[in-house]
Each structure stands twice: as structure tokens, then as C-alpha cells.
């Protein structure tokens, strides 16, 4: 059977069983096993278990339970609630103020972690209830978290950039440097979108009524509540930048900070910690089981010859350097809808990079386009880690449909971002050239 037909059947059955409501982890795992059987035989199921073991051994993932635990403690002890109260007092008068504040927190979180899962889960647990309880539109709130949570892979440190550097041979440091400005740009663009959209449709993110707005003394008193979160952030970021810890170990510093905050709030109690630990297991476990199966799924797809498919598609693209780049972006976008980023990198980069360098493009610049596109893939339906992680934290009243719909405008904003970086490559290349 040709790889084209296989691809259709493979992703067709993924969609079919997803729509029938079987949990994602089992769909990915089951489809992998069935296809492995027909392409490679019974013994190849070993690959599925082997991928699980490989994922269990991945050190960067250790950060997930710790960052989630940190967030759960901050949430359970009321630290997070007070932070949002403060934001509301200060920015409540601004339409969409909480959404923009959430984006800011996401950006800070992104500077602490190199993966997207921890941030989405943490912000979903903390920010979503705060926004919903203040009358924010469901989809606005979901979209903000989906998009901001994904910045973890765009703003350094970033595990996707490290992988990109490993596969393509560019410098990790240059990739990190190149990600800073585009990250800031996306933050500005997304903020602009929120401001404009909320100006046009005030009910999406209601401003605090004039008579409810806090007085200045009240505002300043509320400011005390940011001290703890800021010192947690300071501990994490400071320990990374000061050469005290690796990014993964920094997650443990985050927990330490959260525990100290809990003590300050008088909430350092076994009941609180135990409950936080149990929620952490649920949230980490569901992300990890999706990862286990997703890794099995993309290695199964690769073993079927996915790379050959990309090669033959690229051979059909008519000439023209920009035509090629755009075609690549479109391919990655579509793959991003159905496959995990690591799998996409393994399948496409070996084909793309020689072409990119032959055309005379800067692989660092291309890497940034690639990573932003991956970040979009994290939240495009039907398969996107951020979508599923978010679904794991939201209350039952939020359906997958709400989450799917919420991302549309935010994806468009990011596509605008990609186009801007294509037109003005300096956005990505300026900083690395300055530093190296």
C-alpha cells in the first residue's frame, strides 16, 4: 500500500475514533498498534512500550509535575486568587484587562519553562476561573490561555528550539536569542487583538463598573498580594539565570517558593498539600499518557515512511524560493493539526533543511518560523496538546467545542506574526547577530 493511502487511513481512523469520543490517549495508542500490525507485524508492538519507556526517561518532562504542583499550591492557598483580585482592581477599568494580565503571566511562565504543557495546565487552573467569574466570555478566556500557554516553546528556554538545533546543527544560543523578539512581538500583537476586539464587543471582557472601582489606597493595599507570586517568579528565573539550576531543577525552586507562600498564608497544612498533590497527579498523568501515545503514534507513522511522503510532496512544489517556504509552512500547519511537534520535526526537517540552505535562507530564521508554526499546531484542532491539556482542567461546562472555537482568532494573529517575520526577517535575526 502506498504511503499516501496509508496516511489517509492512519489519520482517518484517528479522526473517526476521536469523534466517537474515545479518549485521545487510547485512540493514538490503539491506532498505532493496529497499523503497526499491518505494516510490520506483531513483534513491532514492542515499539509502543519502548516509546513509553523512552518518554519516562526524558528529563525535561520532570518539570511538568513540579510546575503543575507549584500552580496547584498557589491556587489552593489563595495566592493565585489574590493575584487576580489585584489585577482586577488595577486593570479592571480596562476592557480585557484580565486577559492581558493573563498573557503577561503566561509570558513570564514561558520564560521559566521550555515546554507548553505545564503552563497551559497551570494557567487553566488559575486564570480561567478568575476570568469566568468576572463575566469574561468563555472563548476569550480559553483562547488567551491556549495561546499564552504555548509561548513556553517560543520564549527561551525552549525544548523545541533545542531539538531544532540538534536536528539542524544550528547553535542553541542563537536560536534562543532569535526567539526573544518574535515572542515579544506575538505578545504585542495578541494584546492588540484583545484591546481592539474588546473595544468592539465590550461584553466579551467586561470592565469593572465605575462605581465598583477601587480607590488608590485600596489598590496599593492589594499590591501586597503580588509580592509572593513575584518572589516565586524571582526564585525560578533568578536560579536559572544565576547559574544555580537547570531549567528543570528550577521547577523545584518554583515549588519551594509556592510552599513558602503557603506558609505565609497560613495554609501550610497537610490537607492542602495532599489535595494539591492529587490534582497534580491527575493533570500530569493525563498529559503524560497523551505524550506516551503520541510518541508511539508518530514513530509508527515514521516507520511507515512518512518522510518519503514529504519528499515527494516537496518534489512537486513548483520553483521559486518563497513558494517553497510558503509550501513548507502550509505542510507544517497541516501536520500540526494531527501530529505532535517532535514527530513533525523528525519527519520534515531532514527534508526541509537542505532545501532551505540551498535556497540561501538563514536556518535560524526558518527555525523561528518553524517553532511559531509548531506553537500554532499545539492548539489547532483536532489534535493539539494545549487543547487537550486545557480540556483536562476546565469545569465540565466547558466543552471541547468551546475550546476548539476559541483558538481561531488567536491562530490568525500568529499567522500574521509569521508573515511579519517572513517580510522582516530582522525581527528574528537582529538579536542573535547582535549577541554572537
Amino acid at each position: 500500500m502506498s504511503i499516501e493511502v496509508m496516511t489517509l487511513l492512519f489519520f482517518g481512523s484517528l479522526l473517526f475514533f476521536l469523534l466517537l469520543g474515545l479518549p485521545l490517549a487510547f485512540v493514538l495508542g490503539g491506532v498505532s498498534v493496529v497499523f503497526l500490525y499491518f505494516t510490520w507485524g506483531f513483534d513491532s508492538f514492542y515499539m509502543v512500550v519502548s516509546q513509553i519507556w523512552g518518554t519516562m526517561e526524558s528529563f525535561t518532562l520532570v518539570a511538568i509535575p513540579l510546575f503543575v504542583f507549584m500552580a496547584m499550591i498557589l491556587e489552593r492557598t489563595g495566592v493565585a486568587r489574590d493575584l487576580y483580585r489585584m489585577m482586577y482592581l488595577w486593570f479592571g477599568g480596562l476592557r480585557g484587562g484580565l486577559a492581558i494580565g493573563t498573557l503577561g503571566i503566561c509570558a513570564v511562565f514561558a520564560a521559566m519553562v521550555g515546554i507548553s504543557g505545564a503552563a497551559v495546565v497551570a494557567m487553566g487552573a488559575i486564570a480561567l476561573p478568575s476570568m469566568l467569574s468576572r463575566g469574561y466570555d468563555k472563548q476569550m478566556a480559553l483562547g488567551v490561555i491556549n495561546t499564552g500557554g504555548g509561548w513556553g516553546v517560543l520564549i527561551p528556554p525552549s525544548i523545541l528550539m533545542i531539538l531544532y538545533a540538534l536536528i539542524t546543527g544550528v547553535s542553541v544560543g542563537k536560536m534562543f536569542a532569535a526567539g526573544v523578539m518574535p515572542g515579544i512581538m506575538l505578545m504585542v500583537l495578541t494584546t492588540l487583538y484583545i484591546v481592539v476586539r474588546c473595544a468592539l464587543q465590550p461584553d466579551l471582557a467586561p470592565a469593572l463598573p465605575k462605581e465598583d472601582r477601587a480607590s488608590w489606597p485600596e489598590k496599593f493595599r492589594a499590591l501586597r498580594s503580588v509580592l509572593l507570586p513575584i518572589s516565586v517568579v524571582g526564585m525560578v528565573l533568578g536560579s536559572i539565570m544565576g547559574g544555580l539550576t537547570t531549567p528543570t531543577e528550577a521547577a523545584a525552586m518554583g515549588v519551594l517558593g509556592a510552599l513558602i507562600s503557603a506558609a505565609v498564608y497560613g495554609e501550610f497544612k497537610w490537607s492542602v498539600l495532599n489535595e494539591a498533590a492529587i490534582r497534580t497527579l491527575k493533570l500530569t498523568g493525563l498529559t503524560m499518557w497523551i505524550l506516551f501515545s503520541a510518541h508511539a503514534f508518530s514513530s509508527a507513522y515514521q516507520s511507515m515512511g512518512a518522510q518519503a511522503l514529504i519528499e515527494s510532496i516537496m518534489a512537486m512544489i513548483p520553483g521559486g524560493a518563497w513558494g517553497t517556504i510558503i509550501a513548507m509552512m502550509v505542510i507544517i500547519f497541516f501536520l500540526g493539526m494531527v501530529l505532535d511537534p517532535v514527530g513533525i520535526m523528525m519527519i520534515t526537517l531532514p527534508v526541509f533543511i537542505p532545501i532551505i540552505t540551498a535556497l540561501g535562507f538563514d536556518p535560524i530564521w526558518f527555525g523561528i518560523l518553524f517553532v511559531i508554526n509548531m506553537e500554532i499546531g499545539y492548539k489547532t484542532p483536532p489534535f493539539g496538546f494545549n487543547l487537550f491539556y486545557l480540556k483536562g482542567v476546565v469545569p465540565p461546562s466547558v466543552t471541547m467545542n468551546d475550546i476548539y472555537k476559541s483558538i481561531i482568532p488567536f491562530v490568525l494573529v500568529e499567522i500574521v506574526g509569521i508573515i511579519l517575520i517572513m517580510i522582516f526577517p530582522e525581527i528574528a535575526t537582529w538579536l542573535p547577530e547582535l549577541l554572537f
Partner: protein
């Protein structure tokens, strides 16, 4: 039928208990990472075991969470179509899709046993500088798969009861249960 309900309750309780124990692993993971930072930074003597032990604990933690999450129906699915169906129709659809679940689980149980027993027979260690045994961590994949398989059977029994209006399971239980464990 009481045997069936007893089995269902027993498995669910087992997974609940295992989950509550596994959840505590986050504490030692935190402690070991902090300890390593302290040893390296303040005493200039990094240890050979903290990071690796944390890693092994993490693996066990992640894989063993599966059954507990299933017991709470916490594995994420796409409810787009599913939620529009009547309860009995959902039951039938779930019975059908469970085929794929069981294929996955049987493959996991079979090959994780294979991997774990191979590892156990040679008392496999990691051959790092610390060189701990790693067969217990590989064994955890097998244990976790079995726990998930059992919970999957419970789920299938629930779905059958819903689809065919059988009395050994009361679907209203599910509602209250899944709301109480909101995560």
C-alpha cells in the same frame, strides 16, 4: 450480578488507592531536585543519584497514574459528537470504541511484561555512575497496564449496563462521581 458490582467496586477502589499513594511521589521528586541544587551549589559536591532517582520516580509516577485517571474518567476525549447523543446511544458507541482501547491495552500488557521480565531476569541496572536497578521502573509499565486494563473492563461493564439497561450499575453514580473529581 452482585459479583459483577463487587468486581467493579473492588477494581475502582484499588485504582483509587494506588493513585493516592502515587500522588505522593511529587514530594520526594521536589526534595531530591532541591537537594541536588544545594549539594552542587553550596557544597560543590553534586551527587550521582539525585537526578537519576528523580527521573525514575517521575517515570513510575507518570505511567502509574493511568488507572487512577481512568477511574475518575479523567482521560481527555473529544465530546463534540458524543455529548449530543442520548445516554444509551453513548453506551453503544463506547462499547464499540472500547475495541481500540483493548487492542492498545493488550499490546501494552503483553509487551510490557516481555520488557519487564527480560529486564528482571538480568537484574538490569542503568550503568550510570550511580548504576541503580531499573527493572522496577520497567515493571511499573506492566503493573500500570494491568491496572488500566482492569479499569477498562469496569468501564466496559458500565457501558454495557447503560446500553442494555441492566441493573448492576447505576449511571447516575457516574455523574456524581465525575463531578466530585472535577479535574
Amino acid at each position: 450480578m452482585s459479583v459483577v458490582s463487587a468486581f467493579m467496586k473492588g477494581v475502582t477502589r484499588l485504582n483509587e488507592y494506588v493513585g493516592r499513594c502515587i500522588a505522593l511521589i511529587v514530594f520526594p521528586m521536589f526534595v531530591f531536585l532541591i537537594l541536588e541544587v544545594a549539594l552542587r551549589y553550596f557544597f560543590n559536591s553534586p551527587s550521582v543519584w539525585t537526578n537519576e532517582l528523580t527521573q525514575l520516580l517521575f517515570g513510575v509516577y507518570a505511567v502509574m497514574s493511568g488507572g487512577y485517571i481512568m477511574a475518575h474518567r479523567g482521560h481527555v476525549n473529544v465530546d463534540l459528537l458524543h455529548s449530543t447523543l442520548k445516554l444509551r446511544a453513548q453506551g453503544f458507541v463506547d462499547i464499540f470504541t472500547s475495541i481500540l482501547f483493548f487492542i492498545f491495552m493488550l499490546a501494552l500488557v503483553w509487551f510490557s511484561f516481555d520488557m519487564a521480565s527480560e529486564s528482571f531476569e538480568s537484574r538490569e541496572t542503568s550503568f550510570s555512575a550511580w548504576n541503580p536497578p531499573i527493572w522496577p521502573a520497567k515493571g511499573a509499565i506492566f503493573v500500570a497496564s494491568v491496572l488500566m486494563l482492569l479499569q477498562g473492563i469496569v468501564r466496559l461493564l458500565e457501558d454495557i449496563a447503560i446500553a442494555f439497561n441492566l441493573s448492576y450499575y447505576d449511571p447516575t453514580e457516574r455523574k456524581s462521581h465525575s463531578e466530585e473529581g472535577e479535574a
